[in-house]
Amino acid sequence: MKKTYLFAMGFIVLGLFIAGRAMIQTIVPYVSVAQARQSSGKVQVKGKLVPGSLQMDAIQRETRFTIEDAKGDRLPVVHPKLAQGNVEQATEIVAIGQMQGDVFIAEKILYKCPSKYQGKQMQEYQESSQ
């Protein structure tokens, strides 16, 4: 009996250890634009798409836009691929990546559209990653 418990506990401790290590390597905090400018590692920034700032460049295979966070700070973002779906109608964008100089290089973006479809799939799968 005791042995079984010890065994199970050992497993759980091992699991938590491995998960903890994986967590430290992969956790990405949500930050404001101001915090993002200070950051050195990978972060996620949420903001509104600044109207008219979106450019999709089929040749360079890049999506460029500017987001504005809740405090009104603006951040230019470059997503090094063509964004999927209706990014031009996005109301809110989450950009995941890191700063490179003054520009935020987003390896992945998630966005929410003013969807007429309120069901799950529309909002769930609107993402674009490298």
Binding site: Y30, A58, Q89, G119, Q121, Y125
Partner: protein, 780 residues
């Protein structure tokens, strides 16, 4: 009253009768004479759920846009099957689907419960009551005021217009609904202090839950693969995780029940696992539909109405606290019997496997809940990358696969002779080693990428496949009913092998095609051949025609990735893109427009202002004086990467600048920005090497806004080796699960026919059991 108003009323009736059924079944546990009344109340609840769902379907089929739900998710131009599936495309409809299946499964369950009926059905009816109550707060039957009824519906989301998506929700919701069964039976067992009797009844239903939930997950994954264009079938998305976690727990429970039946033991953990499945799904429902993740992510459902959300939270708390509390309260009286008698025993392998499954479920749950956990702990929300799930789960997946490979050669209790074991296991073991060596050798010489973790995973998966396949082969003739588990294990091995290979060895090429240009991709010459419906512009059902001509002289094909604009809402035309999948036995070629199925086709109407110019010439265009100095050639001559630039000296308002517009062969062009605004470009098909001439195209100069008549089609092709193993594996898993389920239902039926197991059953005819007579409660 119209049908929708009836629908609202019937939902209230259903909620009320489910509450009454809960109370009456609970009373029947003490006083038998309540049982008949309880059944009538439950029957009324079933009637309500079925009738309400029927009404919603009929409203959808008749395109009754007076109903808000129908107007939001359907339109009159849909074919009948998509009108039907719009009945579960939305939030309200999916809850009704959940209630519908819960109600119907109860009818299947009630016939098999015997003395477990009152307590189990009391718990089960209470879950149905919660679901119906949620539907009173979030009703699919709301009506528009007569003056605001829209003439046409919004239509079904084009991505959902797919037959896999039409059958995915009905399937997976059987699974979600059936999670309530082991939960209810376990509560009854704890209350009755019957530590073994519940296992026999629960077993077939647990397998039913496993099969339906599993099939639902697979259908969802297949749908994502063929329509979403993100190139994969699993994305560790919150919605996927909220179904995966309970499924893993149910998988653990299923194995635990086998141990308890065969060896007696695992009483405590089996009850615990049975109590966890349903609350875990309630938690997932809360996470994905509450907007709890919307604070930190845009990656979730719209929030439920406040009252409905409150009920979801109440449901989550009631069953989590109630179930775990009861388990803890009884913990000391539950027998704890040591089963594993030796290291090389099936008992120990099962126990370890269950732990591995539960740990994977737990780690996945932690990852998915990270936005909430981090907000609570660190006051700053964070989420984990997809990589987390691979890193955290990998060691336990290795362990699980190793056990899968060993189990066919282990017997219950312990192996008497280690030598015999080693002898039995040697065939698949050596076969795996040889395959591993060959793969390593080939990888080395073909310079394939190598990762130890992936290689290890593939090796263990191969071992699991071989040893289980061997046993399936042997059992096929002797006792085909008992091979379900092993067949499923072959399937698991194939799924993981296929997933690892198709992800890790995936190759990707991209190209931008324009009129008359080709690109080389995976041994094919690819060219853009227009749209399938060129006269409809980018109208519905349009697709891009991409010609794939084999360079090796094999047969080519035409890929037709879907690309059009959905205009149900004229203010917001939606771009719809779906990949084209070219199937080969050994690989899939996954052909998408743009990256990950999105991207843009730019259609240009106006060639701009053109100016033919030879090298060395100086010409005027508007305010610009242009001297064509030289060509600038990069990349290998005639190669796929060759680009030609025209070096221009441009004089504008007395200022000289050097500009180099570039044409990239097979890929497109890079314009150069003109001083004073606008762009100048050259196109590869207009470069005349003999005359050393090009045609300059000027765009965006004053009085001119449009772009030239060139279509740019960004194409992305992914080669996914061995992906078919995943689909083959899922089929075997479901087949194996189906066999096991048949076997366990047959066993239950047989055991319940024996007088000892069910003392009150009259007669041995199966007919006699279809209507369980009152007075079958017993047990007190």
């Amino acid at each position: 009253m119209n049908a929708a108003e009836w629908g609202r009323l019937i939902i209230y009736l259903g909620a009320a009768s489910a509450v009454v059924a809960t109370v009456l079944f609970a009373l029947a546990a003490k006083q038998e004479h309540w049982l008949l009344w309880a059944r009538w109340a439950y029957a009324l609840a079933v009637f309500s759920a079925v009738a309400a769902f029927g009404i919603l379907i009929s409203l959808c089929m008749r395109s009754d846009f007076r109903v808000v739900y129908v107007a939001n998710f359907s339109s009159s131009d849909l074919p009948w099957y998509y009108k039907l599936s719009s009945a579960w495309a939305g939030q309200e409809g999916s809850f009704l689907l959940w209630a519908f299946w819960t109600a119907l499964l109860g009818l299947l369950l009630i016939r098999r419960l015997k003395r477990y009926e009152p307590l189990t059905m009391a718990v089960y009816s209470s879950i149905l009551a919660f679901l119906m109550a949620i539907l009173t707060k979030q009703s699919p039957f709301l009506l528009y005021p007569p003056s605001e009824v829209p003439p046409e519906g919004m239509g079904l989301n084009p991505l959902l217009q797919n037959y896999w998506m039409a059958i995915h929700p009905p399937t997976i919701f059987i699974g979600f609904a059936s999670l309530a069964i082991p939960f209810s039976i376990a509560v009854a067992a704890l209350l009755r202090k019957d530590w073994d009797g519940w296992v026999q009844i629960a077993m077939p239903f647990v397998i039913l839950c496993w099969v339906t939930l599993g099939a639902g997950l697979i259908l969802g994954g297949y749908w994502a693969y063929v329509t979403l264009g993100w190139g994969g079938f699993w994305g560790w998305d919150p919605v996927e995780n909220s179904s995966l976690v309970p499924w893993l727990v149910i998988t653990g429970l299923m194995h635990g029940l086998v141990v308890q039946r065969n060896r007696g033991g695992l009483h405590r953990s089996n009850l615990l696992l049975a109590l966890l499945g349903a609350p875990l799904f309630f938690y997932g429902t809360y996470m994905t539909r509450s907007g709890a993740l919307a604070e930190s992510s845009v990656h979730a459902f719209d929030a439920l109405a406040k009252g409905a959300l409150g009920l979801v939270i109440a449901m989550l708390l009631t069953y989590t606290v109630g179930g775990l509390g009861l388990w803890l309260f009884r913990l000391r009286s539950i027998p704890a019997k040591q089963t594993a008698e030796g290291v090389l025993s099936r008992d120990l392998a099962f126990s370890l496997g269950i732990i591995a499954l539960v740990v994977i479920a737990g780690l996945t749950l932690i990852g998915a809940s990270m936005p909430i956990i981090s907000l609570l702990i660190a006051k700053q929300s964070s989420s984990v990358e997809i990589r987390y799930y691979h890193l955290a789960n990998a060691p336990f997946a290795y362990l699980m696969l190793l056990l899968l490979g060993l189990v066919p050669f282990l017997s219950w209790r312990k192996v008497d002779n280690t030598d015999v074991f080693i002898q039995r296991i040697s065939a698949p073991w050596y076969a795996t080693l040889i395959i591993g060596l060959v793969v390593a050798f080939v990888s080395y010489f073909m310079r394939l990428p190598v990762a130890v973790g992936v290689f290890f995973l593939m090796l263990l998966a191969t071992f699991a496949i071989l040893s289980n396949a061997m046993l399936v082969w042997r059992l096929a003739k002797r006792s085909p009913m008992s091979l379900g588990g092993y067949l499923t294990h072959v399937g698991v091995g194939l799924v993981l092998l296929g997933a690892a290979a198709s992800t890790f060895y995936e190759q990707k090429t991209e190209a931008v095609l324009t009129n008359g240009m080709t690109a080389e991709m995976f041994g094919f010459k690819v060219s853009y051949a227009g749209m399938t419906h060129p006269d409809e512009e980018l109208g519905k059902n349009n697709a891009v025609r991409l010609k794939f001509e084999s360079l090796k002289g094999d047969k080519g094909f035409e890929a037709r990735p879907v690309y059009y604009f959905d205009t149900h809402n004229p203010m917001q035309p939606r771009r719809v893109a779906e990949p084209h999948i070219y199937k080969h036995a050994l690989y899939d070629m996954y052909i998408a427009i743009g990256s990950d199925g999105g991207g843009v086709i730019e259609r240009m109407q106006d060639p701009g202002k053109t100016l033919p110019i030879r090298r060395g010439e100086t010409k005027k265009m508007g305010d610009y004086t242009i001297h064509f100095k030289s060509f600038q050639i990069q990349g290998t001559m005639g190669g796929a990467d060759m680009s030609i630039g025209a070096v221009l000296d441009v004089e504008y308002k007395g200022k000289k600048t050097e500009l180099v517009p570039v044409a990239v062969f097979g890929k497109g062009w890079k314009p150069a920005r003109l001083p004073g605004g606008g762009e100048v470009a050259i196109f590869a098909d207009e470069i005349n090497a003999n005359d050393r001439a090009v045609i300059l195209h000027f765009f965006g100069m004053p009085g001119q806004t449009t772009m030239p008549d060139h279509v740019i089609v960004p194409v992305e092709v992914k080669l996914k080796p061995l992906i078919n193993l995943v689909w083959l594996g899922t089929i075997l898993m479901m087949l194996g699960g189906g066999i096991a389920m048949r076997r366990r239902f047959a066993e239950l039926r047989q055991e319940q026919q024996e007088p000892s197991a069910a003392p009150v059953v009259v007669g041995k005819q199966p007919k006699a059991r279809t209507k369980p007579a009152p007075g079958m409660t017993g047990g007190h």
